[in-house]
Subunit: 460 residues, 2 copies
């Protein structure tokens, strides 16, 4: 059991500006993206430097105090909300842009910087950082590293893991690990940074990072296609991927039921009529992308793979098409109550999986429907299960069923959102017991006193 932290001791080693107590603690430190607040913590530490993070953690390690680390509070697995007796460690004051190296195409930042600031600074230099999320204004680089964030461009640029060249992290005992290597290739022993990417702050607190930047494409083309069936959707993905080489920036699939919900929103315009079983949003970056894509879609029409398609003629039309996809939460929110899932399945198992989910929920709970969108090229489905309000709160039952079926189909119960607290009890559906034992071994080795984000991912 963690001890109650001593405000006096912490205040004696950190500057006053770095410590908040009592009414100084605003709701942002105990409320997450879902808007569900928990009881406020007794103390929030907002270090201004790595040295302060180190001091705090050394103190926690010595006194059996625990910390919960916070970035932009936009995570979707309830990992960053403080539990009783936990010290909130917020990186919100460590948000400086340290360097943009245009030639080397790297950016060095403090972990608390927002994704949006990273995008804007890259753009100022004619470059791009190819990871984007709807929560870009709040989400921080530290948070996206800790959760190995994904998004819509993973099909071309990979997840956060592929975009971090180097980082600095503070271990549970206060040791500062400097792994700030500005190098793409560096096979010098274990790749130390992997311990801090996607481990949800349980092995160390990321304080700085060197990010990879890329050239901004000269032109982008966005198209929306009405697709006749799932196998046709996969064919379309294949042919775009084969023809466009690395020019394919996004391939977002929307099931017909989702599309209808989305276009019924007042601020969303239907770029194509409803009624098709599937829709695909395709984004191509290429100096002659428009004409190449037009040819390819013409072929798909002739081959009876798609029934209709529209290519955006302007930036505004492109934005309107993206809007159909990005309105996801509002769209599915129209059919409340619902539970959303972020799962990953082999392409050839997706349809059978979705059928099984719908069938099993129906047989257990009665009339449920499913709205689905997918980062199809990444195996990643976002599924909303809508159930009857009369059933009361059956969220736990729905989750149990969906995660069990995900395991049956050898899927991942978390493609990109992480485990946190939300999915902790279902981890065994996607990881073997030897894998989980290995995770625990590493946790125990790096944080024997369970200082860092305890009970996230697995119970400690």
């Amino acid at each position: 059991m963690n001890n109650e932290p001593s405000i006096d001791v912490i205040s004696s080693v950190l500057p006053p500006a770095s410590v908040l107590v009592g009414t100084e603690i605003g709701p942002k430190y105990f409320t997450d993206w879902f808007g569900r607040p928990v009881p406020p913590p007794s103390i929030v530490v907002r270090p201004s430097s790595t040295a302060e993070v180190s001091k705090l953690l050394a103190l926690c390690d010595a006194n059996n105090w625990t910390v919960v680390s916070q970035g932009g509070m936009t995570g979707l697995v309830s990992a960053a909300l403080p539990h009783p007796n936990e010290i909130v460690l917020s990186l919100d004051r460590m948000s400086r842009m340290l360097e943009v190296d245009v030639k080397a195409k790297t950016m060095t930042v403090e972990a608390g910087i927002s994704l949006q600031q990273v995008h804007e600074s890259a753009e100022e230099h004619g470059l791009m950082f190819p990871l984007d999320l709807a929560s870009r204004g709040s989400a921080t680089i530290g948070g996206t590293i800790a959760t190995n964030a994904g998004g819509t461009m993973v099909i071309r640029f990979g997840m956060m893991r592929e975009l971090v060249m180097g980082l600095e992290a503070v271990l549970a005992d206060g040791t500062v690990v400097n792994a700030m290597h500005p190098l793409l290739k560096n096979n010098t022993g274990y790749d130390v940074k992997q311990n801090f990417i996607g481990t949800e702050g349980t092995l160390g607190i990321v304080t700085k990072a060197i990010l990879r930047l890329f050239s901004k494409p000269k032109e982008k083309t966005v198209a929306l296609c009405a697709v006749k069936g799932f196998s046709e959707l996969v064919s379309l993905l294949d042919s775009v991927r084969n023809d466009m080489e690395g020019g394919l920036f996004a391939f977002e699939a929307m099931w017909g039921s989702y599309y209808e919900l989305a276009i019924s929103l007042p601020n969303v315009k239907a770029a194509l009529p409803a009624g098709s079983p599937f829709y695909a949003l395709v984004e191509i970056a290429d100096f002659d992308g428009a004409s190449r894509l037009e040819n390819l879609l013409q072929e798909a029409l002739t081959a009876n793979c798609i029934s209709d398609a529209v290519i955006a003629k302007s930036e505004a039309e492109a934005r309107a098409i993206w809007c159909i996809r990005e309105a996801a939460l509002d769209a599915v929110g129209q059919k409340s109550p619902f539970v959303t899932f972020d799962v990953s399945l082999r392409l050839d198992r997706m349809m059978a999986y979705l059928d099984a989910v719908e069938r099993q929920i129906n047989s257990a709970l009665g009339a449920a429907t499913v709205s689905t969108i997918a980062h199809l090229g990444d195996n990643n489905l976002h599924v909303a299960v809508h159930y009857d309000a009369k059933l009361g709160d059956v969220r736990a039952d729905v989750k149990q069923i969906v995660y069990r079926v995900t395991g049956d189909y050898q899927g991942s119960i978390s493609a990109e959102h992480g485990i946190g607290i939300e999915k902790r009890d279902y981890l065994h559906h996607s990881r073997s017991k030897e894998e989980i034992a290995l995770m625990r071994k590493i946790k125990h080795s790096l944080d024997p006193n369970h200082v860092l984000n305890p009970n996230r991912i697995f119970r400690t």
Copy 2:
């Protein structure tokens, strides 16, 4: 100190076909790529299954015996040669192709399969596996995973780390860790496979893997350019990268001194005359790559960035151009004695680094010259330092100087070859002491009795 293994005990738990002793042990088990043999081991274990690997390791862990794991013996850092009392664990009988899934674009293999077999099986299905090495006929998938191998296509497809979707590994105590997830996205706790990629067999023995396959490009275009200076070389890289998007498959730079050595070989044809300070081999995959590349090179000529260029008109011409680059060992071997290095530097530090290397070796040892080639887009230099034979064996002095200078310029002493035994004593030039301490902590946690490849990477 490790104990001498008991042949009787090992033979009593493993089938006879899995154990070699005495004169049954051929030189391949104690000779590496450099042809330098060491004393033969007393026992070689060649398991036919993961279960046998597990049995052997459990036995070793209980008896304080140590193993050295072997793939194709093509590593360049002397990691796989047996030390006294080490049991050789060769994966050469676990070399089966288990599955090619054309739709999901994955291949499942046993770790002992050769890279060339992987290439051939992918090609049979119209797909490609985008990691290639000169040693492809012998190098195994297990070895390329353990060393996180690189090669010429890293600029487009990344290193082995990016190409492994899932794997199975056996821990030092015999525990089989099944992380065979056929999924691109899988944020379910720690990414267990990272512990076995690039860790040189010190944390576990990889027994199976699921690899990512890609569509084979319809067309490839290869060009060789004579480039006027280093900054022009970087400009050319930038413009090819910007214009070709993901179509750039390789950008290999050759310094003039290397080029002259290469084209003086009897089997290498000069595609362009000698005399230019730099040469760049550019490979583009794209359905209209040839015309796009032609335009781009025309612009580079006009901008006075390159002085000459030739685009291969046939497969044979493309091969001939690649031959100039791939003849590296023969080319530099003409000026013996020499020591080769595989280092990684930020682009903007490369030239100053090379100057410093040449200057410092000259001032310490007298007349030395340097031949350099580079995977330029990956920060990776392969440098050969030629020294005067009259100096005797000064290899150790040359290494000491080069690695020290690499550290001074914040470079990596191993971009892609790994550390093994060869570079072990220089690791501190590229990794902070906190990083090395972290590596040791993880090693101790997963292999407390130092069963697996002890003393590789760091002394155990």
